[in-house]
């Protein structure tokens, strides 16, 4: 009798033990100890939102230290000299993939419906000056010379640093919930946001103000948070991590697959998501710090998969905040670990 009881208890204990072990084995992360072995020393400037590259220097707004320059040769951080000392909310530069930026502007103050004060920082003179005009800024795209601003009641415009309007919106978008802007370069951008009656989301492409459309009604349910473009092929990602593929000749989008590992929660959920493109592929880091590569192609056959390129392993334990591309180099601003680079010629990556 005692032997049977002992056996029963032993079986129960084994079941409990196996349950515990299987619980421990079912995690979908990369392995805690593997991640620890790849951890990287924190850089005390906090998160790094890159703005532009000029010569050996990268310019960024940092979480702990505000506007900073980073010397890619010496690895030194330095505060940029400013003519004022207010919190910075938005920034954009005139740099491109093929040319260094010569200046960036940044917006301070202007909460709610007030107009922001705009300043321009010029690395050549190492000084910031009042910008020629102030706007009520809704958003800026840091590295693509784009300012989304309010023009009046329910009105919005996308404007360059020089003050040229790419496109204006008089009545399309909600007055109370402003739209946002995503871009691949200074001319290929999308303004996305709630319609004037707040009933659905609308998306417009570039200066031509082409409306993005789909036969799938889900396309109108959320804002778009990232885009990639290759010739006439275009891919966009919505706030739920779902991919949509289309072409710039008709802007009709097909629903693609959803990105596995998309962050379960983001705040705000429709904030632009950091991505970079190379050729026919768009790359992004998902919520598990894995890198996904998404084919920029029309049609639902386009693929989403974890990339096996070397930079993915190097950056596997580093949360990324921003990218700035210059030539074949992608500069990577991280949440806690300073700045890394990715060399697109061989997809290697390292810190400075």
């Amino acid at each position: 009798m005692d032997t049977k009881r002992t056996i029963r208890i032993a079986i129960l204990l084994m079941i409990m033990l196996l349950s515990f072990i299987s619980l421990g084995c079912n995690t979908e992360n990369q392995g805690v100890f593997k991640r620890i072995s790849e951890s990287v020393i924190q850089v005390d400037v906090g998160s790094v939102d890159l703005i532009m590259k000029n010569g050996n220097k990268l310019y960024a707004n940092t979480g702990k230290s505000g506007l900073q320059s980073f010397d890619t040769v010496t690895g030194d951080w330095a505060s940029i000299p400013r003519s004022e000392d207010e919190a910075v909310y938005h920034y954009t530069s005139d740099g491109t993939v093929s040319t260094d930026g010569t200046a960036f502007i940044y917006a301070t103050g202007g909460t709610g419906s007030a107009t922001n004060d705009l300043y321009a920082y010029v690395p050549g003179t190492a000084s910031s000056v009042d910008h020629t005009v102030d706007y009520q800024v809704i958003a800026m795209v840091p590295q693509h010379n784009l300012i989304l601003r309010r023009t009046g009641t329910g009105g919005y415009a996308v404007t360059t640093i020089a003050g040229t309007d790419h496109v204006t919106f008089a009545t399309e978008f909600s007055e109370t919930i402003p739209p946002s802007i995503i871009a691949s370069n200074p001319t290929d951008f999308i303004v996305t946001g709630k319609s004037a009656d707040n009933s659905k989301f609308l998306h417009f492409f570039g200066s031509s103000k082409d409306a993005l459309d789909s036969t799938d009604a889900d396309f109108d349910d959320t804002a778009l948070v990232a885009m990639g473009i290759d010739g006439t092929e275009i891919v966009v990602i919505d706030a739920n991590g779902k991919t949509w593929q289309g072409e710039t000749n008709d802007f009709v989008f097909d629903a693609g697959v959803s990105i596995s590992g998309w962050p379960a929660s983001r705040y705000p959920s429709d904030a632009p998501y950091p991505v970079f493109t190379e050729g026919t592929l768009l790359y992004l880091q998902d919520g598990n710090n894995d890198f996904q590569e998404i084919t920029i192609a029309d049609g639902i056959a386009a693929s989403v998969s974890k990339t096996a390129k070397p930079f993915a392993a190097r950056l596997a334990n580093i949360a990324i905040k921003s990218y700035v591309r210059r030539g074949t180099d992608v500069y990577v601003g991280t949440m806690q670990n300073g700045i890394f680079w990715i060399d697109l010629s061989d997809f290697s990556s390292d810190s400075f």
Partner: protein, 212 residues
Amino acid sequence: MKKILIVLLLCMAIIPSMAFAEDAVRTPYREYAMGSQMFTFRAGPVIPAFFYRPWLDLSEGDRFVAFPDAMHMKVGGYGSIRYQGFLNSTLALGGELGYYFAYDIGDELFTSVPFQAKLTYIPLQGTFEIPLSVGLGLAYNSYSAGEKPSFLSLLATAEAGFSWYFKDDWGITLSTGLQLIPEILGPNHPYTTHTTFAGFMPITLSVTYRSN
């Protein structure tokens, strides 16, 4: 000369008898027996000892890395409470509940709450003792980075110590050993090659209260 010899013989006869007489009154050290108990409070630093990843793709790193620099893990700390009851005069069986913490070099926190059955063998007993222990149990492990993953794992420990009982009931022990925490990612897991056997080396100072 004869007198001296007689005195020496008397001394040789008397001194042992005095010692035996003392034995009869008071035991020179605590003798454990079935039912004796020990309560122990422990704390001390923990040196990360190694990560062994037997199936890791070599393009992802070395399969064996040892000590804090290579493991990217700082020296941490461990504290625990332990209760043991003696099975006989040299073997004690009980349980230990602990808390281990350590930061990686990115200042993300790794914590582990081990709970284990502990078997201790004390071959040398007296004012000074040498306890040798093995433990088996489970550990609930958490990591503060990213999606804050956690997992429950098996736990195996082995340690040796040196104790000094400065009072009959109270003693302190300096001990060290190895804690093994396996993180097993099953064959269907997308990162099964990241399966890791992690070893940690606690160096603890304990305070023990014992009673019969």
